[in-house]
């Protein structure tokens, strides 16, 4: 061994460096297997910030595809339901500048929830198909109704309804950001919010 070293100093140096490299390569190879990451973890975090309305206003089929697109560098200002607060949270997470909401994809509004005027519903099930989160309860020729706690307020059920019996009403929300004056009691103003052909009792 010692003889070899004194006889072939250059070869020894070469062997030492190569074996050092080989050992380190093996360690790194093991580590890359051991600490393998499934997909891009940042997508999960972006997806958590997005409001999960699945409304498609951003141009993607849902919130998760948009999260993937953001992770790949798409603009963060295409989500109207998330609003300014959502953009702020995304900017914090991704360490980028806050940019105003892109008007092209819709305007930010208060969180809404769909409401079916049940007296007018003809039970066509068209809104059931349209709902991305299965928040509408009903069957063919049966009256439909909305599960308010499941509804994300995405508007997608309004368009297909043949009798226009779905309204978007502001959701009950708590917190300073969304607080607003209560709407006046419709009965006291003698305004009938349910449009109906039936003669009104007090008018009759």
């Amino acid at each position: 061994m010692a003889e070899f070293i004194t006889q072939y100093p250059l070869l020894t140096a070469l062997l030492a460096l190569v074996s050092l490299g080989a050992v380190f390569g093996a360690i790194l190879g093991f580590a890359s297997e051991r600490f393998k990451t499934e997909g891009n973890p940042i997508v999960e975090q972006i997806n958590e910030i997005l409001p999960q309305t699945q409304c498609g206003q951003c141009g993607h089929p849902g919130c998760r595809p948009y999260a993937e697109a953001i992770a790949n560098g798409e603009a963060i200002n295409k989500c109207p339901p998330g609003g300014e607060a959502g953009i702020q949270a995304l900017a914090d997470l991704l360490d980028v500048e806050v940019i105003p909401l892109d008007e092209e994809h819709g305007e930010q509004s208060v969180k809404k929830v769909a409401f079916i005027r049940e007296a007018e519903c003809i039970g066509c099930t068209k809104c059931l198909v349209a709902c991305p989160v299965d928040a509408i309860l009903g069957a063919a020729k049966q009256m439909h109704t909305i599960i308010a706690s499941e509804c994300t307020g995405c508007d997608l059920c309004v368009e297909p309804c043949p009798v226009d019996c779905i309204d978007m009403i502001p959701a009950q929300q708590e917190g300073l950001q969304t607080w607003h004056w209560q709407l006046p009691d419709p009965v006291s103003l003698e305004v009938d919010i349910i449009a109906t052909d039936a003669p009104r009792e007090e008018a009759a």
Partner: protein
């Protein structure tokens, strides 16, 4: 024994601070100090890498290079060791903390080229440190680096909103501040 190690630590942190006294690792010092949060992330990553790299290079030198009489290969071997340690850290961070990975971004691989890391490894050899001493020296150097980086980042966050003459804004006032900090750290000379 204990006193020796604490002196080694204090010397690496304050008296011979790697950034402000020996002027090693200035690139991350100027580059990552814009936000306190990033600076803290960078400090943690550097602390981990520096301590580990210091110990590993010491082992490589004493177990491989010295017995084979290949002392002259120490620089290239240490670069190899540091690159591997950094790569390994990156994998672990990526797995365990995606947020930290995102925050550190490009800086994590850049620790490879942080001259303080190679500086510590080579100084360990020059000063004939044994394994434990190298470990402490590396840790002390990392703590010193973290200390000044976090201090500097906190100062720069205040400077960003301070009323500074226009020509001094940004990097210029940063350099001035770094110089003043370096002056202040000279006050520690003679402490040990």
């Amino acid at each position: 024994m204990l006193a020796d190690y604490s002196i080694l630590l204090i010397s690496a942190i304050l008296v011979n601070n790697f950034v402000l006294v020996q002027f090693l690792g200035l690139c991350p010092f100027m580059g990552v100090s814009n936000k306190l949060e990033t600076a803290m992330g960078m400090s943690m990553a550097t602390t981990f890498v520096l301590t580990l790299a210091s110990a590993c290079s010491n082992l490589t030198y004493h177990l491989l290079l010295q017995p084979l009489g290949l002392e002259y290969l120490k620089t290239i071997s240490f670069i190899l060791v540091i690159a591997v340690v950094v790569q390994f850290t990156e994998m672990v961070v990526r797995k365990s903390s995606p947020l930290l990975y995102r925050v550190l971004g490009v800086y994590l691989p850049l620790i490879t080229t942080n001259c303080a890391v190679l500086g510590v490894a080579l100084l360990n050899i020059n000063k004939d440190h044994n394994f434990l001493q190298s470990l402490f020296y590396g840790f002390g150097a990392a703590l010193g680096f973290s200390l000044v980086l976090v201090l500097f980042a906190a100062m720069r966050e205040r400077l960003a909103i301070a009323d500074i003459p226009v020509p001094f804004k940004g990097a210029a006032i940063g350099m001035v501040t770094a110089g003043l900090m370096s002056l202040a750290f000279m006050g520690f000379a003679g402490l040990v």
